[in-house]
Symmetry: D2
Subunit: 310 residues, 4 copies
């Protein structure tokens, strides 16, 4: 494991978007650009191949290249977490080995998302998967996409496995996250990250270890500042920073009513900022010009507001 | 409206359990006992005929009596909110008029829960209902029981109606609640309460107006203290008080895995504390002795822990 | 029990719409008109206060009157089934007693629809309810509205209760209905009716006892003929009759995409046929003129097609 | 395209299980054995890499081999359909090209199952996918696993694409299937297959083109006979054959309450019949001996009953 990775990991670990060319190849220039942008923004780690990274839509060959190039560029400057979620366990193991080969620090795994496993089956699956992993792993709770939730008792059981070091909760179910903090975290160093950026502040205030906010692809320093303010319980900073994140969420992620609107809006905004192109990979599609123009206009206001508080 | 009710209402408004005799009649002695217990505990209001009050299971005749007796006992000492949720609009209107007749301060209404209304239908329903109501009303978001959610835009539209003064959100969906605070609350006095007690602290910390915590039936002063601490951002108090609420939630509400376990545990605990009997009304059933004994044992520890911090 | 009711009941038992005046009172003239229309159409029974009867939206006082008037009009000419579904068990029992008092033949009960009961709770609920009922009862499986399904094993257990004589399945889940026929019906006279008219023919062909088709409010003789043809396995009749029902379903029930479109279309069509007014009771609303005109135009074609085959 | 494939395809097209060694490699002997068993049983086609084939759990490399070997063994004796479902479109296209290279007759595709596409997105996805496919394709409706349904209007639109020749519906939603037959099939040769074997008979009776029954892996001739009987409307054959399938479904597919019980039971039964080993690939696990013994005992009775009617 890299020297830079001191467990437990805490802070802001953005789920990196995957920069793509118009024909769905890896955009290496964009990859370099976004990684430097994130590191410059002070993030505490980077999570590649998550939902925001469109992982499920990428072929294994693409992922191999992305893992290798990302780790080469980051070069140990911040911890890198690699998503290995796949409906095939063999493919998850392959990705874990690739991640290890190129120097990743940890793995992230959402449940296989085709067969609906019971909680017992989930426990068996993860214990057996973790046994053979070359790196520590985070569980990834993402019921809106996988249709399976890790129940609190399941997390409690899995947290005993030495390779399973934490959980990223993207459910937005705040009572559930509090139960994890109360039941699983107590007397342990199990790491609990929250997904939705709208609840980053409160999660950290109540004892969470940090967040995996998609918007940090755009403005990493904003999320890092909010994390710092939350750690210090500095409400004079928390409230305006949180409100700016709400403005981002409200204005950029819901241009249309599809679930994909978040990702299309995020990538359109990244392209307006010249960080990487707006392209998405099938089955998702890129926003049209009219929607991109709307994003651009709203982004200008957000940038203005951001400049006033950071 | 009573003198005691200064809008906007803020603080702890417990959803009162409905005290019942063994044969499902109103337990008048228990009703007196719990109302005095709540008022003594310093609550900022009382909500009768909510989910915790088993409202959906009670006949209209029963509700008429409960409304009259409750308001007589409270006698203006704290604001009283009355649930009028029913699958029949005519019945909801009838209950609203009863509530008004006996001096209630506001009404609470979850969507009709048999037909699945669209958001448009929901807006029409509430505008038309509110037009004829004799009292101000809170919307009640309770998707786990009604199968319908108020979308943020729907709440924004309904918040323009002069009779619709707030919303109680029992969804536990924290990003949604943040969106309501950001989009609906901004520039308005629309009141936003949170249901699940596990997220009471953070909701108030981030700008929410208070909570409707079931556990406040047991220990009203605990929830009132947490609310006060959250208002003051006093984390030296927030964390231990919150942890005690997590202990209550973890140990009393999940004896079995049924959705009803919360209500059965809560009423069993109330009976251990001699506040009212443990009886539930059909279709729910009362805990057996073995489960009640378990509740009693856990409750003793909770009371001990409570005595150390309050 | 009436002389006309020979168990097991078989055939077409339409879920009668509730005729309403513009101000949501019972339309007695419409009630007489639709009941005579149904009996003249040859139906084998009539089910009042079901989902199609907007039961959940009606007050108890309204239901009392409807039960009394309907049974007086029918006067033993066909069996009458009365829906007693309510979220309050006491109210269900009250309705059962009213139904018995005025001479109903059987009761129909969907699960209480606010608290989500487990299968164990459902079994306890129904055994305890049935013990005290004055009439035999049908279970009513309607998961799209109640959020609860009767599992096959649950039905098997409940079918042993002498008062529980059958089940109406409105789930549309055909493998489930086949499992009920195979596991519950075998060696018993438990009655199995199907709800959705689109699968009436095949349900009867495979051993089901009949249907509760909403469209039979419009054209009772069409559904009775299809039932007879299915009993006789007469495919030269089954296919054209079934296709006409598909034309009704396709053209009248989906004018808009709301769940309520079925009921609004059905009542609009009934008013075009001068059987009863198109009014719905809140929370549902009546179709506007433009939609009613569309229904009228489509209905004319359907009537023409009907006249060619019946 | 092979000479044996005359569109429209009709009849019994079993979703072949994937024979596996204990260490999750392809069991080539088992593959030969099951393919010969199916062809000998008179099936009208074979569908490899469906849900029953555990497609989602297999790596791309594994699938490449399975496609090649299966097509080599079948050698044009029956049409072969190849599942290309994947959350990555690029991978789906790759599999389609492999299938074409080795002589498959058609492709089968369920929606990408990680991102929840809207109906508009689904239409765009399939039109764009189909444009570049080397073979005709069936849509695969499998909402219990993919969380997305093809709405009737969506199927109607997609049925206009020359490459999209049919749909396999595994929803079990019988009114939906009737709507497809009525709205999409009318005036077209669009092929409509049904998934659940419990409704094979009625689907064919009402105009469906055949079925994709998992149990046909065990007893292909039983399902072929039922199909023939249904085509001939021969109820003296339909009912006993259907009841035997219900016995298989009831006794072999629900040993435990997990969704995976169907697949574990099916493969355990295949191993009892010495057709192929019982092994499943992770994340699913193989039945223990006790469950396999139960399957063996029940299978004996089924075989006896089968011998009496076929």
């Amino acid at each position: 494991m890299s020297n830079t990775f001191h467990l437990p990991l805490k802070g802001i670990v953005p789920p990196m978007v995957t920069p793509l060319t118009f024909d769905s190849k890896l955009d290496s220039k964009g990859l370099n650009s976004i990684l430097e942008h994130l590191i410059r923004g002070g993030v505490h780690g980077i999570f590649i191949l998550g939902t925001t990274g469109e992982s499920a839509s990428l072929s294994v060959d693409f992922k191999n290249i992305l893992i290798e190039e990302s780790l080469r560029i980051v070069d140990g400057r911040v911890p890198v977490l690699v998503g290995i979620t796949d409906s095939s366990t063999e493919t998850s193991r392959h990705l874990a080995n690739e991640a290890n080969k190129y120097g990743a620090n940890a793995l992230v795994s959402a449940p296989p998302f085709y067969f609906n496993l019971s909680q017992c089956e989930l426990i068996d699956y993860y214990n057996s998967l973790a046994d053979k992993l070359p790196l520590p792993m985070f569980l990834y709770n993402m019921p809106s996409h996988t249709q399976i939730s890790f129940e609190v008792d399941t997390v409690l059981k899995l947290s005993k496995h030495p390779k399973i070091i934490g959980l990223k909760d993207s459910s937005g179910n705040a009572p559930y996250f509090k139960k994890l903090l109360y039941s699983v975290r107590k007397d342990s160093s199990f790491i609990l990250f929250t997904g939705p950026e709208e609840i980053l502040a409160e999660s950290v205030l109540m004892g969470g270890d940090g967040g995996v906010p998609g918007g940090a692809n755009l403005f990493p320093e904003l999320y890092v500042e909010l994390y710092d303010a939350a750690i210090k319980k500095d409400f004079s900073r928390i409230i305006p920073l949180h409100n700016l994140i709400m403005e981002i969420s409200t204005n950029l992620y819901s241009i249309d009513s599809n679930q994909s609107s978040y990702l299309k809006g995020l990538k359109a905004a990244l392209s307006c900022l010249n960080i990487c192109a707006a392209n998405l990979v099938s089955p998702l599609t890129t926003f049209k010009n009219s929607e991109r123009d709307l994003i651009a206009k709203r982004l200008e206001i957000i940038q203005h507001n951001l400049s006033e508080i950071i």
